[in-house]
Amino acid sequence: MSVIDFFFYLIGAAAIFLLLVFEVIPYPSQFAQITVFGLADGAMYALVALGYTMVYGIIELINFAHGDVFTLGAYIGAAILGLFAYDRNSFATVNLIALIIVFPLVMLIMGGINVTIERVAYRPLRNAPRLAPLITAIGMSFVLEGIMFLWHGPASVQFPDILPHGPGFSATVGGVFVTFKDGFVVVTAIILVILLAIFINRTKLGKAMRATAQDRDAAQLMGIDINRTIAATFFIGALLAGAGGLIWGLYFNNLFYNLGFRTGLIAFTSAVFGGIGNIPGAALGGVLIGLISAYSDSYIGSKWTEVVIFGILIGVLVFRPTGLLGMRVPEK
C-alpha cells in the first residue's frame, strides 16, 4: 500500500473514529436515525451517480446536464401526477395506479430526452477536443434549467405526496423512526440497481456497452454499432435519473429548478468517490456520500455540508483519483 493510499485511509479511519467516540456511543439512536435518512438520501444520489459514471465510462464526458435530467423527471412526474385525482390522506388504489403508471412513463420520457440531447449536442463533437463537449454539456444544463425556470419560475414546486404517510405507515425499530417512504426509496433504488446490473452483465447490449467503454475502436472492429450503444447508455442513464427524480419528489415533496445543479455535483462526487466508470462504485459512492452528508448536516452543521462534500471531491481526485473501487475508463 503506497503512502498516499495509507494517508487516505488514515483520514477516513480518523473521521470514523471521531464520529464513533463523540456521537455514536453517547447517542446511538440519534445516530441510527441519521443513518436511515442518509441511506435514503444516498440511494437517490446513487441512482443519479450511475448515469454520470456510465456516460463518463463510455465517452469520457462529464455530462453536466444529467442532474437537470433528474430534476426535469421530477417536474414532469409532478405534472403527470397532478392529472390524477389521487387521495392525499390515505393510500387509495388510485394512488397505486398513478404510481405504477407514472414511473415507467417518466423514465421513458427522460430516456428519450437524453437520447435527443446526445444526438444533437454531443455526437457532432465526439472527435473534438475535450473542452467542446464539456461546454456544450454545461450549455445543455443551462437550457434544461431554463426550461424548468420558464415552466414553474423560481418558486419551489410541490410534488404530490401520494406515498402512504402518517401514523399507520411508520415504525419505531429500536428507537429509530422509520417510515414507509424511507423503505420505499431504498427498496426501489436497490431494485433498479439490480436490474441495471443484470442488464449490463447478461444482455448483449450490456456487453456492447462494456466493450465500448473499454476500447471504442476494438468494439467497432467487432461489429458493435457505437452510435447505438452510446445512445443506449444515455437512455439507460436517464431512465435511472428519471426514476431518481420521481423518488426525490415522492420523498421530499419539494422541487426547484436549481436542484439539478447541486444534486448533480454531489452525485458526480459520489461517482468519482466510488471510482468513475465503475458501476458498483457509483452505487457505493452514492450511499457513502449520502451518509456522509447526513452526518455532516447533523454533526458539523448543514451550512458546511457543501464544503465538506467538495472537499471530499477535491481530496479524492488529488489523492486517489481511481476512487474506492477503481476507475474503469478507456485506456489510452
Partner: protein, 427 residues
C-alpha cells in the same frame, strides 16, 4: 542566405505569409478597439446629452475583459480547464474590501485598514496569485476533465466560505462602503480641474503608512469617466504583459503543455513550474480585476461570484477565440453586450413586437400566462444556454481563432481520415 531562402521558400514563405496575415488581423482588431475606446466616451456623452450611464457600463464591461484576458492565460495558453475562475475574482475583491473599508473593524480583529487602491491592487494580485498556485499544486497530475471538476469544486467552496463566515466577510449582507480609489494631490493632471473630482482635504484619504492622518487627494468619488480611464489603462497594461508572456519562453512552454504534455516534458520543460505559473498568473489578473470591481461596485457580495460568473467568462473566451488575445477582448465585449443589453431588452422588444403585429392579447396577464414581457424575461437563462450550445456546435473555434486552434477544431475530422489513408498507403 538568399539561396537558402529560395530553396526553402515554399515552407518558409508560407509561414511568413501566415504570420503576416495573423499579425494583420490582430493588429487591425487592436487598432479598431483602441480608436473605439478613445472615441466612445465622447460619442456616448454626445449621443445621450451628457449622461455617463454608458460610460459606467463600459467600465463594468472592462472588468469582464480583464477577467477574460486572465482566464485566457489559463485555458487558452496553457490548456488547463478552469471552471472556478470566479473564486480568484472573489479573493481579489474581498482582499480589497477587507483592507479598504471599515470591514475589519467589525471582525474579531477590531482594527480597520484603509490602504489606497493602487497598493491594494498589487496586494490583491499577489494574494490571488498565491491562491492560484495553491489550487494548482494538488491538481498537477490531473487530466483535463478532473481538473475542471476540481476547479469547479474550488469555485463553489469560496463563495460558500464567505457565506459561512459572516463575522469576517459580512456573509449574505456583503461588504459595503468600500473606499474609492484616490490619487494624492501632488499628482496633478487633466483631472485637476474636472467638476466632479476636486481636492479633498480631510477625512477621506488616509496615509497608508500612518492610518490616523489624512492627506489631500483627488478621489474618484464614483465618477464613471475616471473609472473608465482607469480600466482602459489597466487593460492596455494587461494586454502588453500578456502578449509579452505569449511570445516568451514561458508562453511557448504553455503552448507545448497544452498540445502534448508528455512531449513537452521530454523537451525539458518543467511542467510543474509552468502549470503553477499559468494558474498563478491567470489568477493574478482576476485578483486585480476583483480589486477594481470592489472599487467600482462599492459592494462585495458572495452572490456575485457564483458558478455562472466562471461560465460566463469561459463563454467569452470560447466565443472570442481561445488563446487569441484580441479575440478574447472582442468576445468579452460581445457577450457582455448580449447579457446586459440585448437579453434584458428582449422582453420589451417582444412586447412591442406583439403589439405591432396585432397580437396584443399576449401582453396582458391572463390566468397562468404572465404576459409576454414577464415570459420573455424568464427565458433569459434558457437563451443563454442555447447561445452557449450553438456557439460550440456552429463555431467552436470562436470568432477570431488562433490559427492552431482553428486547425484543431475545423479539420480534426479531415485529419483523422487523412492520417488513416496515409497509414493505409504506407502499409
Amino acid at each position: 542566405m538568399s539561396q537558402n531562402a529560395t530553396v526553402r521558400k515554399g515552407f518558409l514563405g508560407s509561414r511568413l505569409r501566415l504570420r503576416e496575415r495573423m499579425r494583420d488581423r490582430d493588429q487591425a482588431i487592436y487598432g479598431i478597439l483602441l480608436i473605439a475606446v478613445l472615441l466612445f466616451p465622447m460619442a456616448s456623452m454626445f449621443a445621450t446629452g451628457g449622461s455617463t450611464a454608458y460610460i459606467s457600463q463600459a467600465a463594468h464591461a472592462g472588468t469582464w475583459v480583464l477577467l477574460a484576458i486572465g482566464l485566457n492565460v489559463v485555458v487558452g495558453f496553457a490548456g488547463l480547464l478552469d471552471l472556478g475562475y470566479a473564486a480568484f475574482f472573489a479573493i481579489g475583491a474581498y482582499t480589497y474590501a477587507f483592507f479598504a473599508s471599515t470591514q475589519l473593524g467589525s471582525t474579531p480583529l477590531q482594527h480597520s485598514y484603509h490602504l489606497p487602491f493602487f497598493v491594494m491592487m498589487f496586494l490583491g494580485l499577489i494574494i490571488a496569485a498565491a491562491a492560484g498556485a495553491t489550487l494548482g499544486f494538488p491538481t498537477l497530475r490531473l487530466r483535463g476533465d478532473y481538473l475542471a471538476i476540481v476547479t469547479l469544486g474550488f469555485g463553489e467552496i469560496v463563495p460558500q466560505l464567505s457565506y459561512n463566515l459572516p463575522q469576517w466577510t459580512g456573509g449574505i449582507n456583503a461588504i459595503g462602503g468600500i473606499d474609492q480609489p484616490w490619487l494624492p494631490a501632488w499628482i496633478t493632471g487633466p483631472w485637476a480641474g474636472a467638476n466632479s473630482i476636486s481636492v479633498l482635504q480631510n477625512s477621506t484619504c488616509r496615509n497608508p503608512l500612518d492610518q490616523s492622518h489624512f492627506i489631500p487627494c483627488f478621489s474618484f468619488a464614483f465618477d464613471p469617466v475616471a473609472f473608465y480611464v482607469l480600466i482602459v489603462f489597466l487593460i492596455i497594461v494587461a494586454v502588453i504583459l500578456v502578449t509579452n508572456l505569449y511570445r516568451s519562453r514561458l508562453g511557448r512552454a504553455w503552448m507545448a503543455i497544452r498540445e502534448d504534455e508528455v512531449a513537452a516534458a521530454a523537451m525539458g520543460i518543467n511542467t510543474v513550474t509552468t502549470k503553477l505559473l499559468a494558474f498563478a498568473i491567470g489568477a493574478s489578473f482576476s485578483g486585480f480585476a476583483g480589486a477594481y470591481y470592489g472599487a467600482i461596485f462599492d459592494l462585495v457580495s458572495p452572490d456575485d461570484f457564483l458558478f455562472v460568473v466562471s461560465i460566463t467568462v469561459l463563454v467569452m473566451i470560447v466565443l472570442g477565440g481561445m488563446g487569441n488575445i484580441p479575440g478574447v477582448i472582442v468576445g468579452a465585449l460581445v457577450i457582455y453586450f448580449v447579457l446586459n443589453t440585448l437579453l434584458p431588452s428582449l422582453a420589451s422588444t417582444a412586447e412591442s413586437l406583439a403589439n405591432t403585429l396585432g397580437m396584443g392579447f399576449l401582453v396582458a396577464q391572463n390566468g397562468d400566462w404572465p404576459g409576454i414581457y414577464a415570459e420573455v424575461q424568464r427565458m433569459q437563462f434558457l437563451i443563454f444556454g442555447l447561445i452557449l450550445v450553438l456557439i460550440i456546435l456552429l463555431r467552436p473555434q470562436g470568432l477570431f481563432p488562433s490559427r492552431i486552434r482553428e486547425q484543431e477544431l475545423k479539420h480534426s475530422a479531415v485529419q483523422t481520415e487523412a492520417s488513416a489513408v496515409e497509414e493505409g498507403a504506407r502499409a
